[in-house]
């Protein structure tokens, strides 16, 4: 499933990286500890987090994640969006908390692949 389908279905706000929503999403990972994501997320995953500082872009880029979804309407810091644009990492925002958003993304990804 492409990021743009998830954006459309869940009504996510696209803060940056709108030109890179054609990336294929292979799974998801939810977490606010950067080393946890570094160790356990996989290439092509969407990362659900409430961290908004610029280091999330380095993690997403180094791990080749598909994109980042911020929860609870959290907005990224300005440096975060600048870095994300440069690194071609989409940053999306949801008004849902992590638990609900993870469930919805999980259902979308598993429904599509079954």
């Amino acid at each position: 499933m492409k990021i743009e389908e998830i954006v459309k279905t869940l009504g996510l706000e696209v803060v940056c990286g709108g030109d890179h929503l054609g990336k294929e999403v292979t799974g998801g990972y939810t977490g606010d500890l950067l080393s946890d994501v570094m160790g356990n997320a996989r290439e092509g995953f969407l990362w659900i987090t409430r961290q908004v500082h610029q280091n999330i872009v380095a993690v997403a880029s180094l791990k080749e994640l598909a994109g980042i979804i911020l929860i609870n309407s959290c907005q990224p810091a300005r440096e975060t969006t600048e870095k994300a644009e440069a690194e071609k990492i989409p940053i999306l925002v949801s008004n849902l908390p992590a638990f609900e958003l993870s469930g919805k993304v999980y259902n979308l990804l598993t429904a599509k692949s079954s």
């Binding site: 500890l33 080393s35 946890d36 160790g39 280091n55 993690v59 880029s61 180094l62 791990k63 080749e64």
Partner: protein, 145 residues
């Protein structure tokens, strides 16, 4: 197959302690160098993980560090030599969840006591030595085809 131990790349990078804004730049550099050398993607990502974790440790705790990247046919070696407080008990520091990070570091989602474990798990060979009051020396090796 190339000659064994043929050197494909040697280079050094500097990391500035305390600067979270530039954290990740050295790892990004290493990643792009390895990609250009044609190292397979999964191994490039392993190298990116170990170098990023080491970089974050330097930024979080040390004054500065030098990173030496040596790519030979068959191995990628990343050495991180920092000037910093050192680690009094390496066995303890290697335990998942053990951390001396302050509140500011933890609020950013770092300092969860997972960094050295990630480095160990994603390296094929990992050495750590440390001297209190001087610094810490990490050596990570990833095998390549």
């Amino acid at each position: 197959m190339g000659e064994t131990n043929q050197n494909l790349y040697s280079g050094s990078f500097n990391i500035e302690g305390g600067n979270f804004n530039s954290a990740g730049i050295v790892s990004t550099n290493i990643k792009s160098i390895l990609k250009k050398l044609g190292i397979p993607g999964d191994l490039v990502r392993k190298a990116a993980i170990v170098s990023y974790e080491a970089e974050i440790n330097v930024v979080s705790y040390a004054k500065k560090a030098v990173v030496n990247l040596t790519v030979n046919s068959g191995t990628v070696q990343i050495e991180v030599i920092d000037e910093g407080p050192g680690i009094p008990n390496i066995e303890l520091a290697m335990q998942e969840g053990w951390s001396t990070a302050d509140q500011k570091i933890r609020e950013m989602g770092f300092g969860a006591g997972m960094g050295l474990c990630n480095i160990k798990n994603y390296s094929d060979d990992f050495h750590i030595t440390s001297e209190v009051g001087k610094g810490t020396h990490l050596k990570m090796i990833i095998q390549t085809p």
